[in-house]
């Protein structure tokens, strides 16, 4: 059998999946990428800004999509999901949602993540008050606000971190890892749109472990003058047309209040239901939460001929998703070369 006819299935057309497809295709093997949505690019495509550099994330995605389109070895199928699959010797026989049946020599799961349902926190009023948004909704709102008159822009914006993460009672005990950074980014972008706006970030810790991360977060505080208040907000109540946020400033031990025009909840990244389903289909390992788990010593592998990349393994930033996509592709290429 000619090795170059080996084919990999990549499930998920976000940044990690695109990276894996591009690398596998670039090495001369066939890569079929399926994406359940109409649009490629996943979460990245919906973002207004990026960290730790103030780049345009949509341009990055477009660049990756273009690379994939120009690569004759890469085929992308949007609006397509995996219906079923079974193993036949060294290949997976996969039935797609368009009833196509195909054979694959390896699978890369890059199914991404979901967001925690912020309405489970009744005290924050998500769903009850119009101006309480999730972080992803706020990214779209930032785009919308570009064209607003200055007087219509929110004057006071409060950002709540750890909504559904680091919460053993209503959410998940883990740290969702990237919310600190995207909250800093969103608060900074809000200040760029309206330098007169007062932005408050309520935090327990700010975790900026990454190249340029600390500098990025500090610049948001020191150069863009976003105020960080240590303490987890306890309640949001409507008052005179505003949203009154009540918290404790735990550094001072004093109760504090902010009358906010808008509240942005950094809701945790959680496992996608479709990931768990697909893991079952392909025999991938799942951890206690529903994220894909790795085989010890093989950080991109989760089963026999099954690899993974991106947020389906754990919350990851855009650079990390690209690393993981490339790493999973390297494993697939190595496997195909050995076959």
């Amino acid at each position: 059998m000619n090795n170059s006819e080996k084919t990999a299935l990549i499930i998920g057309g976000g940044l990690a999946g695109l990276e894996a497809a591009n690398k596998i295709g670039g090495a001369g093997y066939k890569a079929i990428l399926v994406e359940k949505e109409e649009q490629l690019g996943g979460i990245m495509k919906q973002l207004y800004g990026s960290f730790p550099r103030w780049d345009n994330p949509r341009e990055l995605v477009d660049q990756k999509v273009k690379m994939a389109q120009e690569n004759p070895n890469v085929t992308m199928k949007t609006n397509t999901t995996v219906k079923s699959a079974h193993k036949k010797d060294q290949t997976f026989v996969v039935e797609l949602s368009n009833n196509e049946q195909m054979e694959f020599d390896a699978v890369v799961l890059a199914t991404g993540f979901d967001f925690y349902d912020a309405s489970q926190y009744g005290e924050y009023g998500y769903g009850a008050f119009d101006n309480v948004l999730t972080a992803l909704e706020f990214e779209a709102k930032l785009k919308e606000m570009e064209s607003w008159d200055k007087e219509d822009l929110p004057q006071v914006v409060a950002f709540f971190k750890c909504v559904g993460s680091r919460d053993r009672s209503k959410g998940y005990p883990y740290c969702s890892k990237i919310c600190c950074m995207f909250t800093a980014k969103e608060a900074g972008l809000m200040k760029d749109l309206n330098p007169d706006a007062k932005c408050f970030v309520f935090y327990m810790d700010y975790r900026a472990a990454g190249k340029e991360y600390e500098e990025f977060a500090r610049s948001v505080m020191e150069d863009k003058h976003v105020r960080y208040v240590r303490g987890r907000p306890a309640k949001v109540l409507p008052e005179n047309g505003k949203l009154m946020v009540r918290a404790e400033d735990t550094l001072m031990g004093v109760p504090v209040e902010v009358a906010a025009d808008m509240i942005v909840l950094a809701n945790a990244m959680i496992p996608a239901e479709s990931t768990i389903e697909l893991a079952g289909i392909f025999g991938a390992k799942i951890d206690q939460y529903g994220f894909i788990d790795y085989i010890p010593g093989h950080p991109t592998q989760t089963g026999d001929r099954v690899f993974f990349a991106g947020g389906c393994g754990f919350p990851v930033e855009s650079l990390g998703a690209q690393y993981q996509g490339a790493a999973a592709a390297a494993d697939v290429i190595a496997l195909f070369t050995q076959d």
């Binding site: 105020r227 240590r230 400033d249 001072m252 109760p255 504090v256 902010v258 009358a259």
Partner: protein, 193 residues
């Protein structure tokens, strides 16, 4: 001294003033937004045990513009400007310089110090510097004890120090006292009200 009841009210942090922060940035060349809130200043402060508000909290109070509290806090007068805080601060925030600024402000606004005789001591000390160009400890102590009517304060220790040759009863004057006096003439102490 402030007690907990003075502190415990809900602070509307969206309505706080930035003016003190800006003043300090201008006069002390130090940006308190650089504060990492690590507490190394308070942890190492040589006088934290007698401070009503410790250095990290002082920075926090500046952040929320609580000027009135800062001007009447006791720490203003119990800080000995030993420089340990700024020496250890990872952001090089010059807290002693900020304390100086706040002290000057409290003095010029006539905010009384929370413990007795503080102003008297500062006045006597500056006066001595004006006369001798340095601080003659023995003379200053005697003057202070007489003016504050605490005649025997530290007398025992003073005697011990004297017999060990640590205390010179005769004040010495620096050579170029004129320069010091010119300094005092050019920058007079200002006090309102």
């Amino acid at each position: 001294m402030l007690n907990t009841a003075d502190f415990y009210h809900v602070l509307r942090i969206d309505q706080t003033s930035n003016s003190l922060r800006e003043e300090i940035k201008e006069h002390c060349h130090t940006d308190i937004e650089m504060c990492l809130e690590c507490g190394k200043c308070s942890g190492g402060c040589s006088n934290a045990h007698i401070f009503d508000i410790t250095p990290r909290k002082i920075i926090q109070l500046i952040k929320v513009g609580e000027e009135a509290k800062l001007l009447k806090m006791d720490a203003l007068w119990s800080c000995v400007a030993c420089q340990l805080c700024v020496d250890r601060c990872p952001s090089s925030i010059n807290i002693p310089r900020i304390m100086d600024y706040l002290r000057e402000k409290a003095y010029s606004q006539g905010v009384p110090a929370s413990r007795p005789n503080v102003e008297l001591f500062h006045e006597l000390m500056l006066n001595n510097i004006k006369r001798f160009g340095r601080v003659p400890e023995a003379l200053l102590s005697v003057e202070f004890n007489i003016r504050s009517k605490q005649y025997t304060k530290d007398a025992e220790m003073g005697m011990k120090m004297f017999f060990k040759g640590k205390l010179n009863p005769i004040p010495a004057r620096i050579k170029n006292i004129k320069q010091v006096q010119r300094m005092f003439r050019d920058i007079p102490a200002q006090r309102e009200g």
